[in-house]
Structures are given as C-alpha cells and as structure tokens.
Symmetry: C2
Subunit: 341 residues, 2 copies
C-alpha cells in the first residue's frame, strides 16, 4: 500500500463502482446484484428482494433533535422504501445496533418501540439481528427482505426514450425540516431559546418520521402497471433521476412547473429565502418513489392524485435537463449526498 488515493476523490458512487467492479456472480439464484435499490434472488416461484442500510450517529442523524422512537421508525422505513422501489413487498427485516455505555435499557426500548411501530404499520417481521457495544455513538444496520412475483421487479436501468417521469407525493419537505431543525439547534446553542416549530409539523414530520410508499406499489399491482424503471428519492431528485438515466443509457427533461410541493413547505422555503425547486432537486430524504412508465400507461397513472408526471425520458445524446417556469433550460447535475466530501 504505497499509494494513497483519498476516498473523497472518488465520491460515494465512484467508490462503490470501484469496489464492486470485479464482482463475478456464482449462483444462478443471484438475479440482480449491486447497483440498484435492492438485490433480487430467485426462490423457485417467487423472487426475493434484499436491501441494507448503515446509519451512523453524527453522519446520518443527530440525536439532539431526533427522538429515539422516531429514529427506530425511520431506520426501518428507509429500508422498506428501497424494497418498494424494486416494486416488491417487504416481509422481514434484520436489525443490528451498536451503542456506547451512555445508553440505558430505557433508551433502547424507546428506539425499539419505533422499530416495532414501523413493523406493525408495514406488516413486516423482525427476524434477526445483532447487538454490540460501540466505542462512540449509535450505529444502526437494517437489512430488509421482500417478495415480488417472478420478473415483476423494477430496476433503475429500464427507462426508455419517451417514457413519462413520475414521482409520488411531495418533494423537498424533508430538507426543509432538516434546515429548520438545524437552525433551531443553532439558536438554542447560542441563546438557549427553545425551538419554535409552530406550524411546521409537516416538514419536521417528513424528516423525522418519513413513510415509505406502500400505497403506490399496491396501486401498481391493482392497476396492472409495471414501471419501466424506479428508485426512491433519498439523495435528491437530481441525483436520483441521474441514476436512472445513467443506468438506462437515456437522457431526461424535467419540468419545474410540474414539481409537487406541499403548500406549507413552499411557504416556509420562501420565508427562509430558499428556492423550493432547489430543495426538491438537492435535498433528499423524501422517500418518494421516482419512476418511469410507458406513455400508454398515462391514463392509468393520472387517476392517482398522489402521482405527478414531472417530465419525460429523452435520448442519451440530448443530456439531462430541467426546464424552468420561465422556460430556461438548465443541465441537471448530481448534488446529492456525498459523505466522503
């Protein structure tokens, strides 16, 4: 090891590509491996989808404003969101935690109360895990397992030119919640003033207690829709649509005027002199489903008030663009999460 390459020079996705580039699949049951929201495993009649996340205190969450119960709920939900993003239904989770000796049994009980509330809400079973002490901070690892009918799983790589780009729910709210909580934390640290969260329950809730879009995957099943590609919005719309475009070898056009916002969140953004569109593009943690469907599915999609059509897939040669309300055309750039930065 004479050479030293800084991890930051590759970025998160570059690092993953680097570390996994030589993987050679050995089992016929490994239908889909690294590089999507989940992996797909064949099990003779059904297919299994698995996904895993590692959450570390100080990196992914701040316990100074995150109640442990909410943290437990969210740790489960963000993993289930990955399973839904494969068009599968989650059935089991495994949960490992590491904690320093500043935690009491009561604190862990709070955390687990949130975990079990999520298991109840999404009807999944906690079937395994590991507990450990840590030298510093709280560490959470969740693996989620789900089922999908044969070959109904949806990858990031299936988007076709002229497909419609759709998103569920509202965008940018979680980022605004984070901005508010970080601001109030700073004020509290500087002045001791108690947080003023008056009227901001939507955005704070979206950050601290997100929900996964079970209803959208159920709607697909009932309406006989199989999206051509899908991802959950965890890194921000911009990063996530670029994942789809890169893996599908296509380009895209997004229309700013079609972006779905919560009115309360939008108003709060203006109050902070933030652009709601920028929050949607770069904020992340919305856990909405971003997917593409064939134009022929438009009639089926439009009946669902939770789904917005926000653009369309273009040829790769045309690049990835946003058309603003004013009609200007901007290139989309990945601005999502990069912990290594």
């Amino acid at each position: 090891m004479d050479q030293r390459t800084e991890i930051a020079s590759l970025g998160e996705f570059g690092l993953i590509d680097h570390l996994t580039q030589h993987i050679d699949i050995k089992n016929a049951s490994s239908l889909l491996g690294v590089g999507d929201d989940g992996a797909v495993i064949d099990h003779f009649g059904r297919q299994t989808v698995v996904s895993t996340d590692l959450l570390i205190e100080g990196i992914h969450f701040d316990l100074s404003y995150t109640p442990l119960k909410h943290l437990g709920y969210k740790a489960v939900v963000v993993n289930l969101s990955d399973i839904y993003a494969m068009n599968a239904v989650p059935t089991q989770i495994l949960l490992s935690i590491g904690f320093s000796n500043r935690y009491s049994v009561e604190a862990l009980d709070e955390f687990y109360a949130g975990v079990y509330a999520a298991c109840e809400a999404y009807q999944v079973d906690l079937v395994g895990g590991d507990t450990s002490s840590s030298q510093k901070g709280f560490i959470i690892s969740v693996t989620a397992i789900g089922e999908v009918a044969p070959d109904q799983y949806v990858k990031r790589s299936g988007a076709q030119v002229n497909d419609l780009i759709c998103v569920s729910g509202e965008l940018g709210s979680a980022f605004l919640g984070l901005t508010l909580l970080e601001r109030e934390k700073k004020i509290f640290q500087e002045t001791g003033a108690q947080p003023d969260l008056e009227g901001q329950t939507n955005i704070v809730g979206r950050l601290l207690k997100p929900e996964a879009r079970k209803d959208i995957v159920e709607f697909f099943s009932e309406s006989n829709i199989v999206p051509t590609s899908m991802i959950d919005v965890s890194d921000g719309l911009s990063s996530d649509i670029l994942h789809i475009c890169k893996q599908s070898n296509v380009g895209c056009v997004l229309h700013e005027e079609k972006f779905p916002f919560n009115p309360e969140a939008k108003e709060f953004a203006y109050k902070l002199q933030l652009d709601p569109t920028a929050c949607a593009l770069s904020g992340g943690e919305d856990y909405e489903l971003l997917f593409t469907v064939a134009q022929s599915d438009y009639e089926k999609i439009k009946v669902n008030p939770s789904i917005s059509v926000i653009g369309y897939i273009a040829p790769e040669s045309e690049g990835n663009h946003l058309i603003t309300r004013a009609g200007n055309k901007h290139a989309l750039v990945a601005q999502g999460w990069n912990h290594a930065r």
Copy 2:
C-alpha cells in the same frame, strides 16, 4: 424515560430477550425468527436462511494486528458460519461499511480483496450493501443469505435427552491466538520489540483468518444426517452448549478428555500457564460447529475424523456439567462474550 437501567445489568443475551420479547410474527413466510444463528424464510420449495453481524473497530477487532485483507475475509466467514450452523448453504451476502477519513481507497481495496477471497472460497455472491463515512473507526455489517431444503434447517432448540454432543475441528486455538497477539502488542508498545510469532501460525491463523465448516454441512447432506440441534462456537463452548441446552430445555454432560485440541495450540497454552480446557470453554471465535445427533447416528458420525463426540444430552433437571480428566464434576457456567460488561 425517568428510569435508567444499565444495559450491563441485563447482559447481551438478557438485552436481546428484553428487546425482542413482544415480537409478533405477521407473515406466514417467517418460519423462524430471532433467537438462533439465522432466521428461516419460506420461499415455496426452498427455504431461505438469513443472518447478520455488526463488527466494530476496537470492540470486535484491533487493526494494530489485523491486516485489512484478513478482516474482510473474516467478516464474511463469521456470517457464513451462522448460515452453516442452520444446516444451510450460503448463497449471497450484503456488506455495509463505515469508515473515517483516515482510510484510503487502497486500504478499502485491501479489505475488499479479503471479502472477495471469501466469496470465492465459499462460492457466495456479494449482491448489495451500503458505504458510509463514520465519525470514528471502521464499522462492518454483513448479512448472509442461504438456502436449505424444506424443513432441513437445524435450530438450537431440538436437542433430545441421550443425544450425542459433537463438535468439529479443534477448540480454543483462536483464543490462544488472541492472547499471543495481545501479549506481543503490549511488548511492542512497551519496548518496541517486533512480535515473535515463530511457530504459532496455527493459532494466529485461527484467530485472524478463520474458516467456516462448509465441509461438515456437506458431510451431513451426503451421509443423510440431520443434527437435532446446532450452533457455531463463537462465544466459547460453555456459552454455546448452554444456548442449546436452554433453548432445548435439556441438560448436558461434557467430558474434558474428549475435547479436541491442536497439539501446537495445547503446547502453547501450557507455555503461557493457561489451561487448554478453559480456553475451549470460554475462549470463543473458534467458528466450529457444535451439534447434537441421535445415538443411532453414531456409526455415521464416527467415520468423519473432523468430528469429536464430547458428551451427551441429559434431562434438564440434572443440570449442565463438565467431567474433568480427574473425574470431578463441575457445573458449566456461561463465560462467553459480554460486551456490555
């Protein structure tokens, strides 16, 4: 949260019991949940076994004497060992890592070289994972997935009175390796003297690069043996046989004279004035398979030179005992791993 109960007051297994006591299984596919080496999920014709481990620098491993490549190999192998301990064959893993900015890409490459070497040796596929920065230290979470023919999985809870207690390979070596490396580390810190590992490749190798007993599970399959209970020896023979006894509602009698030792390891133990039997009982990390079989399987078992019969299952009312070489009878006590202590 007015009350504060120290986690140490429950211990690791008490804590797990406490946190999981109210689990209510919702999916018929969740055949076996928390409380064994792995969980079992039904997949219409085959059954899936899953297991997960969280490994934290400073708690589970010491990078001052653990090469990153060995660490990658071991992180995979200890999870595969859990899958084998369910009598299943591992097929896929998911791997998440968290690392601080003191790590370079080259360091992660070393770690992954070990991961891929283990995947190759055991023919499993790395199908997913997560990468993250950490505030401190290296964090590893591995989830392993395996397959087993319907209802051939082996739990900890099936041991019957008069069953034979068997163990694969040799016991206590990994603990002796740890003792040696800790001693050399201390000498190095105090005097700057380079480690003297001359002639101790067996015990050091057993600690740093353990193997999972794939061969034993293959032998079971070829010989039509289904153990009545099984666990892998990770916490020490004493703790692990007590898991089987507690979950099977039985007692046990172990015979010290039957314990399998590596001659080199035994000699080294005496040099350090350690009792090899104590190393086997309390050491842990051997990753051998500890299992029980019906007496009628004795003829099948005895042909395998890697398997030792070390005792038998007794009625629960008779308790758990060790008969020493001198013929004395001692009660077995759990002395395994307790990070919270």
